[in-house]
Symmetry: C2
């Protein structure tokens, strides 16, 4: 029965790939790139699983989401797989971004060349500290915060990266939103929410504290296990 309302039509193109799968995709991509440069044309999920510490069945399920078909006994075509992953993750389309906070962390992100191959192209950095303004960091100019909003609108920037201390995070986010930015990649320890920036802004909080909490927990359990 056709949907006559036109109201809740969802994009079937997305195939609704689960987020856990999305998160594993970059690791597959990196591994496959290695095989490619070694000249390997085909690879089995067993092999991938072994190298990446995953279950073969999980790799098979994940790869199936990309639409690439493998051949029994032979495996999957490496080149096709790489291309399919890049498409699924949207790495084929460049995403230009602004970065706020040109300190150590910001510089590290700017120098992280891998991002360029991964669909993130940071074209300008911003800082409130006048001593940093005017500099170039890894070929990216550092500009004054006042210029952010107008420039973002003019350049139609969609992604903002926040690498400022917790106290400055909310202001940074608001400046980005004023510039019409649609998604924020937040490295500050303050977890941003819809309350800070409005509901329609996509927020991805990189919580180092969460990651560390898991590490210390696992360490504690090991210790407890051995009397």
């Amino acid at each position: 029965m056709p949907n006559l309302t036109g109201q809740d039509e969802r994009e079937e193109i997305s195939h609704a790939i689960p987020y856990p799968t999305i998160r594993r995709m970059p690791a597959y991509h990196r591994y496959l790139k290695g095989l490619q440069s070694d000249g390997l044309a085909m690879v089995s999920c067993t092999r991938i699983a072994e190298s990446l510490d995953l279950e073969p069945i999980q790799v098979r399920k994940d790869l199936a989401m990309t639409g690439t078909v493998g051949r029994p006994r032979i495996g999957y075509p490496v080149d096709a797989l790489i291309g399919a992953i890049e498409t699924v993750l949207g790495w084929d389309r460049w995403s230009e971004a602004f970065l706020v906070g040109a300190g150590n962390l910001g510089s590290a992100i700017l120098g992280y060349r891998a991002f360029k191959a991964i669909g993130l192209n940071i074209v300008a950095a911003f800082d409130i500290d006048p001593r940093r303004v005017g500099k170039m960091i890894h070929d990216v100019p550092v500009l004054a915060m006042e210029k952010l909003a107008n420039l973002a609108r003019r350049m139609k920037i969609r992604i903002g990266v926040i690498t400022v201390p917790a106290e400055a995070a909310e202001d940074a986010a608001k400046a980005l939103v004023r510039g019409g930015i649609e998604a924020i990649w937040n490295f500050s320890p303050l977890a941003l929410t819809g309350l800070h920036v409005g509901k329609d802004v996509i927020i991805e909080n990189v919580s180092l504290a969460s990651s560390l909490a898991v590490l210390i927990r696992r360490l504690g359990q090991t210790k407890a296990a051995q009397p």
Copy 2:
């Protein structure tokens, strides 16, 4: 019936808190600290949920894992909750750590004061670049890589932080393992596995690419949804 074998006794002290809950704990902690400094004594899960963009029932379940009991109509005691979370996460016991790679990212981590309150105390940094050796970064000395293993054993260091480029990650990990380190917090783009360092070393990979992949995916879906 009592377990007479003594073989598969598991530590019941851990209460098997699920990892998703562990990951949310730091956010609760940070929020509660804010309330505490505002002088609030009690807080309801409804309120916490609203501020952190979670469901009240999830907050209730998470807080229950800490063993803190709330009072109907009133809420949970803020001070007790903070203490309970710190205990659950092991933040009461300091964890001394070594860091490998004193570049931009390493400096950012060293300067991230929040970690000190969070159970991670980086006591020394190491680098292969002789120009960096001998310096102090945020009060932490940068030493030569050759000194790592011996010093780690002598100081009984359990945690290693890797902030080197992908090419150097495996060597850094191996140096840490030679020093008897039990857990590795890896910021390099190369996902480390048991194959690199042996099965009994705990590895926590911070994959920025995974996080970015999710962000770009969500951004793409938004775009697709609006025709």
